[in-house]
Symmetry: C2
Subunit: 303 residues, 2 copies
């Protein structure tokens, strides 16, 4: 009977989900031992356990981002799969919630109401606006689909796949060219060496002055100093950041004092135990049948 | 050549749209005279002009709500058409903007940021929630479609049509029964005698305590005193109101002091000259060809 190590801060929620599924032939434990073959857990907790698991064959990460396990100093003699496919709907609610906050001037109206003002300011609309996706994986594809629902044009920047039916125009070479005609730039990139500071001052300067930037990917994609300068100078309209180079964002970070910036503390797409357990269960059934696993991570590529 | 009276506060915008369309055989004026056959305008302005137009045949209203023209004391010897079909996308942006504001706890996160707090509060989601539409016309159908995009269940209360493919369950008899299992109650009703105070204290008491109420229909559908009491007592989670029995909302109205209430000053779906002119042009072409007009209002029914 394969032994599974469950490593999560809220391990009870996950245990409940796995027990409800009544998986045959699976012995679930929550502390490392020498006979463990499978791990289902949070990447930062898994990292510490790696040296204690000589029989490890497969790790299912509970997150999309698996940076803690990509350190070249760590072992790579196991199959690593990440959480994919489940975050699209949540990311879409986040991104379009904030785009609509902006267009509908919801904060302005809230403050008008505090002053007993009947505020007739005409709202903007998403319709006919252009959304640029920096990264067109499963989350990007989901965002593109929601954008189409709202009558938008979708531009996609990718170095790999061009298979998303909801992307109208693809860009490959130059991120500044891609940024030039966007109303909204959405970064959905993972943390890899290739994505570091891909959004730099020249990309930010290429954005139209009314443009909005949202980062739901990883903090290292952004030159944070350049972004703070761009926002402070009014060169762009605003930014909504869920991810940062250092998290939690340090108390003295300039972003706490940067205008036209909303900080959402890495809450865009939480891993709900039900969703993530379903994904593990699907993959575990494949594992038991000796089939190829879904969502396998390439250690070199980083996702 | 038929003579058209254009009656709008922003008549230049509309004139520009109509001139661009180069409609054949149409003489456009902006002050009433005895030879006017057609009117394209805002219902409150049209009301005053009605006695001055002996040859009037057709009025195309620029709004969805045509209450100013429904007073039984006014003439009804002309065809009245309203603006329909164009407000669905805007209403959808409004409704889902505010639903996401609520689920994503956007205001709370904004205030956390002002206090330099890294706020990890887990967001809610629209997925698997139940949206109740009070009124399932063209706007309701559009909202139902967006709700389906976000993975929601849609309940519809209607006394007439059941033709919307995105409504999962219809209710007909009792609004309180309809309200019982909703996460969000959205009122899209026009102002008619049949809709007056349809949302009363018993309906509000039937809503689950976590429920949110949004009114994008007309203010008379709501017993405002009952709603203020319900919100003040915490019996329901919150309300977002775009429309009121009296607009602008009077300075001494209790709603300015009611907790968990957002006021948006009748801005949910503004009539954009481009959209409304396209609708008039479509109907004018039908009119010139002697065809039946679209969006005809039944004076008795009120929409």
């Amino acid at each position: 009977m394969p032994k599974l190590l469950l490593l999560a801060r809220k391990s009870d929620d996950y245990l409940h989900q796995l027990e409800t599924a009544r998986l045959p032939e699976l012995d679930i434990v929550t502390t490392p031992d020498l006979n463990i073959e499978l791990v289902f857990g949070e990447p930062n907790l898994i990292r510490d356990a790696l040296p204690l698991l000589p029989r490890l064959k497969w790790v299912q990460a509970m997150w999309a981002g698996v940076e803690p396990l990509l350190d070249p100093a760590l072992r790579r003699d196991y199959i690593l799969t990440n959480a994919r496919g489940v975050f699209g709907p949540l990311m879409s609610e986040y991104v379009f919630g904030y785009l609509l906050l902006h267009e509908r001037k919801i904060l302005q109206r809230y403050f008008s109401q505090q002053k007993n003002l009947w505020d007739k300011t005409v709202p903007g609309t998403l319709r006919e606006k252009t959304l640029g996706l920096l990264g067109v994986g499963s989350i990007g594809a989901y965002l593109a689909n929601t954008a189409k629902h709202f009558g938008m044009t979708v531009h996609g920047f990718t170095r790999t796949s061009e298979s998303c039916p909801d992307v109208d125009v693809y860009f490959h070479a130059n991120v500044s060219d891609f940024a030039k005609n966007l109303d909204y730039l959405i970064c959905v990139l993972p943390n890899t060496n290739a994505t570091r500071h891909i959004i730099d001052s020249s990309v930010l300067k290429s954005l139209p002055s009314h443009a909005l930037f949202i980062n739901v990917g990883r903090g290292n994609a952004v030159d944070e100093t350049a972004l703070a300068e761009s926002l402070a100078s009014g060169q762009m309209s605003g930014a909504i950041l869920d991810v940062f180079q250092q998290e939690p964002l340090p108390p003295n970070h300039i972003f706490w004092r940067t205008p036209n910036l909303l900080i959402t503390s890495h809450t865009a797409a939480p891993s709900f135990p039900k969703d993530i357990s379903e994904l593990f269960i699907e993959n575990y059934k494949r594992y038991s049948r000796g089939e190829e696993l879904k969502y396998r991570v390439d250690f070199e590529r980083g996702y």
